[in-house]
């Protein structure tokens, strides 16, 4: 189905990897797709969000607020271990980033690949379904956004719902925007 994705929609999917990794996630979830979506400029998805007075900054702040689990460094501090100091000593011996480069630190995964979880796969599946329902023969950022406005898509849906992005209104906006514009 990836060949039906527009260039910008592909950018969103690829960017979700970086988004998840930057947030230290062990899997790419729907909120990482959402974070990636608002990073790609000049898209129909952004135009729809603007229509709801939602900015990329809003969305990114909402995603930041999700990650409230204590960090390793906080947890280790509670038993008197200074992780920054450990890291400093290790890097002195083995070079910059030595500790974080280990397979163990990366959760045992091969470098560069973080799997998409169920919620992220669901977004892409629903994006396809939204495109079909609108009789569009491609999948653009606007369909990815619509795909997020379903309850099965986890955090992305919760963030957008809390920002009052309504599914039926968004669909009408997409239809009208597509009528006058190129897919994006």
């Amino acid at each position: 189905m990836f060949e039906r994705f527009t260039a910008k929609a592909r950018e969103v999917v690829v960017g979700a990897q970086a988004e998840g990794k930057a947030r230290g996630a062990d899997a790419i979830r729907s909120e990482h797709l959402l974070g990636s979506l608002v990073h790609v400029p000049d898209t129909l998805a952004l135009m729809v969000l603007t229509g709801f007075s939602v900015t990329p900054a809003h969305v990114l702040a909402d995603i930041d607020a999700l990650g409230a689990t204590p960090s390793d460094s906080e947890a280790l501090a509670s038993i008197g271990i200074d992780l920054d100091e450990v890291r400093r000593q290790v890097e002195e011996a083995f070079g910059p980033g030595a500790l974080d480069r280990t397979m163990a630190a990366r959760g045992g995964r091969r470098r560069g690949h973080t799997p998409f979880d169920r919620s992220a796969k669901k977004v892409l599946e629903l994006a396809l379904r939204e495109a079909i329902a609108l009789h569009h023969n491609y999948i653009g950022t606007e369909h990815i956004l619509l795909g997020m406005l379903h309850s099965e898509t986890g955090a992305a849906q919760r963030i957008l719902a809390a920002r009052n992005v309504q599914q039926h209104v968004a669909r009408i906006m997409v239809e009208e925007l597509v009528r006058g514009k190129r897919a994006g």
Binding site: P70, D72, A75, L76, A77, S78, I79, G80, I81, D82, L83, V86, V90, F94, A98, L99, D100, T102, M103, A104, A105
Partner: protein, 71 residues
């Protein structure tokens, strides 16, 4: 952690959420350090037997665990 009283307060905290999170993070740190040291030892030509003895585990255990990383 520089503030000793703060450490003492946290360490004496019996909240399992804090204690268990500390153990989990410690285990991850341990795994990273072990991997780094085993890799370094192999690069310096240490045998699996020598590494196992230093880690106080069986040769089979350490070989099985790190062979896949290509050490």
């Amino acid at each position: 952690m520089t503030d000793a009283t703060e450490v003492a307060a946290a360490a004496s905290n019996r909240d399992p959420a804090i204690g268990l999170a500390a153990v989990a993070s410690l285990r991850e740190l341990l795994e990273s350090l072990e991997e780094l040291q085993v890799g370094n030892a192999r690069e310096l030509g240490w045998s699996w037997q020598q590494i196992a003895e230093s880690l106080r585990v069986s040769k089979q255990a350490v070989h099985k665990k790190y062979r896949r990383l290509g050490f």
